[in-house]
């Protein structure tokens, strides 16, 4: 199955579709896909060649087509990349390098075709081969070569074939572009006999132009209309837009305007649009009169404002040419209106501008030259026309509109109409200022001054005097006469009660003449008096602020005077009320000051403080605390220090009124505020706040307070007791977790260790009581470490700490005593001796430990240690004395007892001595211990009585609560 290779289609697409379709967004995707397909084609052709086992011209041709096609696609890609390179870099880049890949494929295609033509000179489709060569040459811009090959392709092709027609069209395009319309016409004619593809309409369009250029208007029109009709069919390229554009030329040139109108009407197109086109065309051909007529006629068919503008644009140059001034002005006026609506395009704006500028200048020149001085009406009309053109100019170019207004003024000045000129000068000045055109402003300003001196109407003078001064000062802000002009302008404004404008003059004056303090003060005084009289405190305050900020250099006396004035105004009445004992009135007054938006912070805080004092005095604690808090917030730390005693009074008052939280919060607030100062009352605020927090069980607040205390310079002598209080309160509240946390945080500092012994013992006891014996043991071990370290460092250990340590040691001692008593004396003799010896050794150890505990200095430890020691001695003594060996002879027993009695006696003696020592210590050292009774109470009962209140005692907490 040998298939005819489709050459023509590919190139048909290459020439046109590539350029048209690839404009779409998916161009990249399509190209990539196409390259893939081409690669596949190349592989397939190669495979086919291999299968066939011989070179075949049709396959070679196909290969060449694919190579060429790939080359073109790659070139598109390379071109795109090349254009993406910044211009500067692109200039330097090597084009050969950029287009290397596509070049390679073009070369391969070329080579393949040349081999094909050489090897198979009789190859039936050699026209296709030449077609490739032609396109290749076209690619590398070898036009002559390309033309030659297209001709060859045409010569070698069979008539009526696609390749023949395509070659003809390619050649026709070459000739068409060169302007050889006779040749292009013939070639197109031959190629377009059959409507072979969708490009027919496009090629026919060129053929029509070729006819047109050759003067064959009828054929040109017929071909165009045929192409137009086919363009409606979606099987053909739509050339309708181009045809609609160009066909009007054809009709006009052929003198068939009526047919043109008929054609466009028939096809539902705008006649006015066509007439406009024709008019334009006629203008390009220099047929101005015809153009004016066509356009004027067409103007009747205008459909919208855009078209109206298009017509007017075309017409104004013709009106100007034929001296139709009124029509010209009307057209310009209409265009200006369209401009205001934003309907003109940049080109149209330029044309309008050109015409308005030209005409305004021309008329003004005539007026200045007094051309129409003897024709008053004409002159005035001309002046009005010139003015209108100037206004159009001003509209078109707002940035230079000041000049147009100035010129309008000058135009009226030239014909002696000063009252008319003055507003234009004034407007010119305004616009000059806006557009920063000093030169025009100066010119207009001078012209305005001169015009005002030309005996104008009073109303004109009144209206424009101030602008004149302002303008003068604008252009001469620091000139010789300026100081006086400023003062006159100031006065003029003040006369008109325009204080704001006068203020502005003052500011400008100050800037222009900063050294003129006196004049400035005078101006200020006038302004301030004005506000004072008006009772405008806000304005006064604002000026005071500006004066205080140094904006105006005024004498200190004046400055003080101003401030006093303002404050005085504020506190005047209130203080009067306060002095008279009218606390309510005073409170109301301070409150007003506080709330007034015009009051400055200084006044507000003073008012707040005074309110707090007034409420304190009236006993309204809740209001007092609120205002004390507010005033404290507003005051600076040094200010607060000044009033700190008052705040202590406030907080004390609150405490006394059982408003504990309020009291503590206020203390803390003041403490925070004066933290960085060297106030000695800081510790008072700290302690007050902390004690109340603890009493109220607000442990977190207490903790936070203690945490920030060191930063505020509160020493350990204050902070540590606070911590210990905190710990005690935590223990009392069974907050063991927080308790432990505090201990851990304090433990970091070894200095704290002695202080931590006692609190730790509380923790240990708690742990033990809840059955966490091991944890208790660890805590006690730590306590011992604290103790040992403190002793080593010779640090003072609080008594409770010593008590706690001694209790630990005593419990161990107690164990030893129990152990001593657990071993009983018994015969045989050897065992008796061994046990007795052991007991003496153990007793010795107990004695050493007990003495050591007693020496620690803990009262509890001393008494309990002696108690255990005495008990141990007495126990051993009694056991020896009371022991009677069994089964022994009376003689032996007697001898034994006697011997033992001698041995035991020192024990008894020692026990008595220890007892005496203990009693002595209790008495001497005022020891109060639960064990005291053991030594001191001697009664007939074998127990020690304890006393309790019958009614139940009421224990008070620190805050006085139960």
């Amino acid at each position: 199955m040998k298939r005819k290779l489709i050459l023509i289609l590919c190139f048909g697409f290459l020439t046109s579709v590539v350029s048209v379709k690839f404009a779409h967004a998916d161009v990249e995707q399509r190209r990539t896909e196409l390259l893939k397909v081409l690669d596949e084609e190349l592989r397939e052709v190669t495979r086919l060649n291999k299968q066939i086992g011989a070179q075949r011209p049709d396959l070679m041709l196909r290969m060449a087509q694919i190579l060429l096609e790939k080359g073109r696609l790659l070139k598109d890609l390379e071109n795109q990349k090349y254009l993406e390179i910044p211009a500067a870099e692109r200039e330097k880049s090597n084009k050969d390098e950029v287009f290397k890949e596509s070049r390679r494929y073009f070369d391969q295609a070329q080579k393949t075709v040349l081999i094909l033509l050489k090897k198979f000179p009789r190859f039936e489709d050699r026209s296709d081969a030449y077609y490739i060569l032609a396109y290749n040459a076209k690619e590398v811009k070898q036009e002559d070569q390309s033309k030659k090959y297209f001709q060859k392709a045409l010569d070698e092709s069979r008539s009526g074939t696609v390749i023949a027609d395509k070659s003809r069209i390619a050649l026709a395009e070459i000739y068409f572009n060169k302007g050889s319309f006779d040749k292009s016409m013939n070639l197109y004619e031959a190629a377009l006999r059959t409507k072979r593809d969708k490009w027919w309409t496009k090629d026919a369009f060129n053929l029509a132009w070729s006819y047109f250029k050759m003067g064959k208007y009828d054929k040109a029109i017929n071909t165009m209309t045929e192409s137009y009709e086919l363009s409606k069919n979606n099987k053909y390229i739509d050339m309708s837009k181009s045809i609609e554009r160009d066909l009007a030329f054809f009709y006009t040139e052929a003198g068939k305007s009526d047919e043109a109108i008929a054609f466009y009407k028939k096809n539902g197109k705008s006649v006015s649009e066509v007439m406009l086109k024709v008019g334009r065309y006629l203008k390009t051909q220099g047929k101005f009169a015809a153009a004016e007529k066509t356009l004027s006629d067409g103007f009747q068919y205008k459909q919208n404002e855009k078209e109206e503008a298009d017509f007017n644009i075309e017409l104004i140059s013709l009106y100007e040419k034929f001296g139709r001034d009124q029509k010209h002005l009307e057209a310009c006026r209409a265009l200006a209106a369209q401009f205001s609506k934003g309907n003109l395009n940049p080109d149209q704006i330029e044309i309008l501008k050109y015409n308005a500028e030209k005409m305004s200048a021309l008329i003004q020149q005539q007026l200045v030259a007094k051309t129409y001085d003897h024709q008053g009406d004409v002159r005035d009309k001309k002046a009005e026309a010139a003015n209108e053109y100037f206004m159009i100019n001003a509209l078109l170019t707002p940035a230079k509109s000041q000049m147009d207004y100035f010129h309008s003024g000058e135009t009226f000045f030239a014909i002696g109409k000063f009252d008319k000129a003055i507003p234009f000068y004034a407007e010119s000045i305004k616009r000059s200022q806006k557009n920063a055109d000093k030169k025009t402003e100066s010119l207009a300003s001078n012209a305005l001054m001169v015009s005002l001196g030309k005996g104008v109407k009073k109303t004109t003078a009144e209206e424009y005097l101030i602008p004149a001064y302002e303008s003068f000062l604008s252009t001469n802000p620091k000139g010789e006469k300026s100081s006086v002009v400023y003062q006159r302008l100031f006065s003029a404004h003040m006369d008109k009660k325009n204080v704001a404008a006068a203020s502005s003059v003052l500011v400008n004056y100050k800037n222009a003449f900063p050294a003129e303090n006196e004049t400035q003060e005078k101006m200020l005084a006038q302004i301030m008096d004005n506000y004072k009289d008006a009772g405008d405190k806000a304005a006064l305050a604002s000026w005071v602020k500006r004066i205080e900020a140094g904006e105006f250099k005024v004498s200190p006396d004046y400055a003080k005077k101003v401030k006093t004035l303002v404050l005085g105004m504020q506190f005047e009445k209130v203080e009067q009320a306060s002095t008279k004992g009218d606390k309510k009135g005073a409170l109301r007054g301070y409150l007003q000051i506080y709330k007034s938006p015009e009051s400055d912070p200084e006044a507000k805080k003073t008012a707040a403080y005074n309110i707090a004092v007034l409420f304190y005095e009236t006993g309204d604690s809740k209001q007092m605390v609120a205002w004390a808090d507010r005033s404290a917030s507003m005051m600076t730390p040094p200010e607060l220090v000044k009033f700190e005693k008052d705040y202590i009074l406030f907080s004390t008052d609150l405490f006394q009124r059982r408003l504990f939280n309020e009291s503590a919060n206020l203390s803390e607030k003041v403490f925070d505020k004066i933290c960085s100062t060297d106030s000695k009352n800081k510790r008072v605020f700290f302690k007050n706040a902390n004690v109340i927090y603890l009493a109220e069980k607000q442990f977190e607040k207490s903790k936070n307070l203690m945490t920030k205390a060191p930063k505020c310079g509160i020493g350990n002598e204050i902070i540590l007791p606070a911590y210990l209080d905190h710990l005690n309160e935590l223990a009392a509240s069974s907050k063991w977790s927080s308790f432990n946390d505090i201990i851990k945080s304090l433990e970091v500092s070894k200095e704290m260790w002695p202080q931590l012994i006692y609190p730790s013992s509380l923790l240990a006891n708690e742990l033990e009581s809840i059955g966490r014996g091991e944890d208790a043991r660890k805590v006690r071990s730590k306590m011992m470490t604290y103790y040992e370290n403190a002793k080593k460092q010779k640090m003072d250990i609080p008594l409770e700490g010593l008590d706690a340590i001694s209790l630990i040691r005593l419990s161990l001692l107690e164990e030893q005593v129990k152990k001593l008593n657990s071993v009983r004396l018994a015969f045989p003799e050897s065992e008796y001796n061994k046990n007795l010896k052991g007991k003496f050794i153990q007793l010795d150890r107990i004695s050493t430990e007990a003495v050591s505990i007693a020496e620690m200095g803990s009262g509890i430890g001393i008494v309990k240690a002696y108690k255990l020691l005495v008990a141990a001695d007495e126990s051993v003594y009694n056991e020896i004395i009371n022991f009677t060996p069994d089964g022994k002879s009376p003689e032996y027993v007697a001898s034994f007892k006697k011997g033992m009695s001698g041995l035991a006696k020192p024990l008894d003696k020692q026990a008595q001595e220890f007892r005496a020592t203990a009693i002595k210590k209790i008495e001497k050292d005022n020891i109060l211990s639960p064990e005291n009774a053991w030594f001191l109470v001697k009664n007939e009962y074998s127990f020690i009585p304890e006393f309790y209140s019958e009614n139940g005692a009421a224990l008070m907490d620190k805050a006085g609560g139960k």
Binding site: M1, K2, R3, L5, I6, L9, C10, F13, V17, V18, K21, D26, Q29, R30, E33, L34, V37, L38, E40, E41, E44, V45, R47, L48, Q51, I52, R62
Partner: protein, 475 residues
Amino acid sequence: MKNSFLSISLLVSMTFGSTASASIQEAWKIYQSGNKSRYPQMVSELIQEKMYFSAIPFIKEYLVTTNKVNDVAVDKVLDQLITEVGVKQFEVLPTNVLEKSNAPTIRYILARKAFRQGKYESALKYLDKPIEDWNPVKPFALLLEGSIYSVSKKEDQATRVFKECVDVAEDHIKKEKDKDRLRQLKISRDYCIVGIPRSQFAMQKFEAAYSSYLDLEKSSYIWPEILFEEAWNSFYLKDYNRTLGKLVTYKAPVFNYIFNPETEVLKALSYMELCLWEDSKKTVENFYSKYENDNVAYKKYIDSMGKDYKLYYSLVKDQADGKIKNNAILNTALASISRDPAYLELYSSFNAGRDEIEKMKSINNEKLRSVLNENLRESLNLQRNLIGSYIRGQLQLFAAQIVKAFEDMSYIKLEVLSKRKTELYGDVSMSADGRARGDIAQLKRTDKQYFWTFNGEFWADELGDYVFSLKSECK
């Protein structure tokens, strides 16, 4: 009709000797006489003894040495003999030798030779003289004649002759007992049946051909190969879904032996016409990957065998004996040949010839036996070579078909790529959305045919009736 010498002799022999030995003796006598003009009589004697292959050299010698056979009895002998041993043994004789006889079988052979050379007029002339309907060669001659008209685009004559052929063949089938001959007759009849649609196809009357093809029963020996023609017919009717449906039938295991690379080509073409580019390309690629390597080995293999016909003969025989080669193409090709009616005809004749070896043992006359043995050996050698030659021809044909298929496939792929490019250059969306497959709306019905959709299973009664329902993606 003038009684010839041979006919008298035959009558004599029929009168005086009805035993085998009598015929053999008579044959011996004629042989001994050295009179070659009497060889037909001798052959007749041998035919009576069913020693057909042994007789072939005698009759060939007679034909070569005689000027003209003008004896009905000799023609009858020729007809009888050729009917038994097949036409191939005599096709190798030069035309001028064969033209000496007017025997219908010889004329048939001459017509075949002319037909093969494209000399259709000459072929028709050979068949011009009537052949009696009862003549064994008649159905075959009609088939040939119909075919000549068909290729000559004489549809009416062709249809007429084919219809006659079907009727005559049916008559012969009713009377025939021999299994091999019965098969040949049925095949011949069936070819005549499809001769009609073939003629219609040649005249581009695809709609008519479409219906005429349905006259061939699926049980026909030749139905599998005709299915392919039907597929082409559907293709020309632009009923690509039916084409694909018919082609898928070849995937049925029962058709494993069919060797026809063109089925794949047609499949790829059908996909292409449906604008199913990827399916078409896939078919091409699958074909290449399936056959590209095997084809190289296949070609190398058959080229290495040169013209050693004995080798070719053994190749098919080995294959039939279950010896499989390591080459898919070769295996399918051999399987296809072993079921080929022409091959079977040659092979069954050859086997019949070998039966004569046994008969030879019963001949006591040593000299005669020696002569006949030599004859038999010569005939069987020729028969084997004819088989080998046929096989070689087929294998070479297959090789050419594959190369042709490769070429076609490549062109299809290039065409697909070209169309894909056209799509890409044109304003056609690249997305493959909305590709509806298996849409029943794609079916077209005719009253002669049931429609089935192929669901991956093959059922004997559905073979050939599958219809795809792919939607064309052509824009």
